[in-house]
């Protein structure tokens, strides 16, 4: 039983960490942890989540437990947010045991970067059409975005500074769009650049920063708002630098 209670704390922090890593809201990560700990009979539960760390403190069977996990890398993974939220609910409702939940987390399928990059490129192609582009802009936008997103993915793995990779990829999009227009004047530079950078714009950070602020998580809200602002600035700077030549 003791082992199961220990697993409970491990499960709670893994769920919270997973939600934060996947780009979920702070209150959702905290709720996931609290749900699991309450279901395990823990008392004096205290969970604090930030975009960079998550802390849990609870009394489990009379013993006080504290867990801290540092979060270095964050991405957007809607499937994981949904999955982890579902697991915490099932554990809370008694439909899933702690062991099964831990196994589900371990077997949770890994990210497939190629598919993600390909879908981003296709989305960019259609966005180019939305932003005043023609049918002939579709293929170049897809190719340009594919190259820029692949670069961003590789750079994110090598560098800890995600902002540099964002700036680099916006520069690649702009430079390749200019080359394409020089080679094929029928293409629209505006549509290709906007289509290429729109998926990199900080929509998630902006949405979550506001949701966090409304929920009373002011530190997370402010941190994410700052992240959104810096991302927008570096994206815009990348475009401006290439356009100025």
């Amino acid at each position: 039983m003791e082992a199961a209670k220990d697993d409970c704390v491990v499960l709670a922090i893994k769920l919270g960490e997973g939600v934060m890593r996947a780009g979920g809201e702070t209150y959702r990560a905290e709720e996931c942890c609290e749900r699991v700990l309450s279901a395990c009979g823990a008392s004096e539960i205290s969970v604090v989540a930030f975009p960079t760390a998550i802390l849990i403190s609870a009394d489990v069977d009379g013993a006080h437990r504290t867990e801290i996990v540092s979060i270095k890398h964050r991405s957007v993974d809607l499937k994981k947010i949904e999955e982890y939220n579902g697991i915490s609910r099932m554990v809370a409702e008694g439909k899933m045991g702690v062991d099964k939940a831990l196994a589900a987390i371990r077997s949770s399928d890994k990210e497939r970067p190629f598919l993600s990059i390909a879908f981003t490129a296709l989305a960019a192609g259609f966005f180019a059409f939305v932003f005043n582009g023609g049918v002939w802009d579709f293929l170049p936008t897809c190719l340009i975005t594919f190259i820029a997103t692949a670069f961003k993915h590789c750079a994110d793995r090598l560098l800890t500074l995600n902002f540099l990779s964002t700036m680099g990829s916006s520069m690649i999009v702009t430079a390749l769009a200019r080359f394409t227009v020089a080679a094929f004047p029928v293409c629209s530079q505006e549509a290709m650049i906007v289509g290429g950078i729109i998926s990199m714009l900080p929509g998630l950070a902006l949405t979550n920063s506001l949701r966090d602020t409304i929920s009373g998580d002011f530190i997370s809200g402010a941190a994410r708002m700052f992240e959104a602002l810096v991302t927008a600035i570096v994206l815009a700077a990348g475009v401006a630098i290439v356009l100025s030549f």
Binding site: V76, K79, K80, N85, S116, L201
Partner: protein, 148 residues
């Protein structure tokens, strides 16, 4: 009628964007429909009101429908609200602003920065309002259930 092609393209783009951030196929399709509809609403409104007002109401509609869809699909609202607002993010405005800076038109670029910030502020306000409305409705619903 002229907008149909753009709305369909926006819907498909939103669905592919949702898939790129690992949304499930079902949720990506729902996001695409909601994203296309809210972008269509934006295009329709932009004929009558200024861009800030049209973006505000389109974002509000998109986020509220995302909250409703999330309750129906029993999934976190973020899963829908993030892809839905993507076409409304002021990317074109940001590009034009940067183009002006690149061409040395600092005054035009400065105005563009202010316009983009105001538009993003309008979107933020709409996201906030939609979340608050959804929370309020949920709280009222829970109270009614408790009284029963």
């Amino acid at each position: 009628m002229e907008y149909v092609g753009i709305i369909v393209a926006a819907a498909v783009a939103v669905a592919f964007y949702a898939l790129s951030v690992r949304s499930s196929l079902k949720n990506a399709l729902i996001s695409g429909i909601l994203g296309g509809t809210s972008y269509g609403f934006y295009l329709l409104l932009s004929n009558y009101v200024n861009p800030i007002t049209s973006v505000f109401f389109a974002t509000l509609t998109g986020c509220l429908s995302a909250e409703l869809a999330a309750r129906w699909a029993k999934t976190p609202a973020t899963v829908f609200s993030i892809p839905v607002i993507i076409p409304l993010v002021p990317g074109l405005m940001l590009y034009n602003t940067m183009l002006k800076f690149g061409q040395g038109d600092t005054a035009g670029g400065g105005k563009g920065v202010v316009d983009t910030l105001i538009l993003a502020g309008g979107m933020s306000l709409a996201v906030t309002l939609a979340t608050l409305i959804a929370k309020l409705i949920t709280a009222i619903g829970k109270r009614i259930e408790q009284k029963k």
